[in-house]
Symmetry: C2
Subunit: 215 residues, 2 copies
Amino acid sequence: MDAIEVAVLAYDGMTALDAVGPAQVLAAVPGVRLRWVAATPGARRTDCGMAVVADHALAAVPFPDVVLVPGGVDVRPVARDEPVLAWLRSAHARTRWTTSVCTGALVLAAAGLLRGVRATTHWLALDALARHGAVPVRERVVEDGKVMTAAGVSAGIDMALRLAERLAGRDAAEAAQLAIEYDPDPPFTAGSPRTARPAIVARARRALTGSRGDA
Amino acid sequence: MDAIEVAVLAYDGMTALDAVGPAQVLAAVPGVRLRWVAATPGARRTDCGMAVVADHALAAVPFPDVVLVPGGVDVRPVARDEPVLAWLRSAHARTRWTTSVCTGALVLAAAGLLRGVRATTHWLALDALARHGAVPVRERVVEDGKVMTAAGVSAGIDMALRLAERLAGRDAAEAAQLAIEYDPDPPFTAGSPRTARPAIVARARRALTGSRGDA
């Protein structure tokens, strides 16, 4: 079986779980080879107190089967990084799937890949996504053609399970779900602006606004 | 407000999501300071195709408020790493919370911290946990005194939300849940050996056995 090459874009300021959630699901799928890429190989700071190391230059992974773009609290720098955008355009022309998590969708949009495309992002960034010409959809995972986008941060895990099914079949996807024991049981129901108390929505908005979603 | 120092143990072979899931939750809690630690600072390989960089030596973070130990496919090397075990024992004497995700519980057990303690781990490692003198509990998150343990991999997110509530109150925990849009919607129901089809349980067991849970 040929390997399924998944390129995960790393950049300073990325939200770690946006990338690691899907990567952990896909790491459990037989045949998947994860390649963390950056303009130049090396460490990139995340918002979780540590850096991740991208071993591969963008140019070393020109035609991955899957591209995964994580979001970040402020994606404006990466959304203006022309070598990254050029790589995204070129890779997208041949991918099986081009995917993003959270505000990673704004990076895909900045590369011009979401014009007229149904897509989602973090709940606080849906308006910004619309301004970039995408058709924002308030769902947890959205597929439009070969573009698959996830809502905020943890939604990447749900997206990756769907992606695993598309790439390797339902049994492989379910086995990956069991490997990571993904039987979620959040102690609160505050995970969506639809279900969180208004005071919590206001609090999260205050904590995140001014940065996330301004790309 | 004094910072709440959370030490995340990094080691070669760790499961990235075990650490990053909780770290992402806690990063959204005001006052939390995440410190990734290792015997010596530097990069540690994960099972997701990249390394994470621990900036701090164990000795530089002797008395964190919270210790978080992730699991890995094979935790035997770290579970025999005496400097790590000595640090865990010493730190545990003063922590507010000592926590693990997945087979990280086997590392806490190897340090002697789980004798007679109710704890959980990845579903495939519950027997190994019992052999280490812990009282294995088949729940997603288990608290016993100041020891909080999570089941496999993704369960660390649920654990961290409970931990966030204990550390900073329910509103802060709910705002963190909303910040990471943790409104899970797995496309399958295979996340637990109780709900997965028998063929999927057998498949996941084959993929993981011989390594995970043998500490």
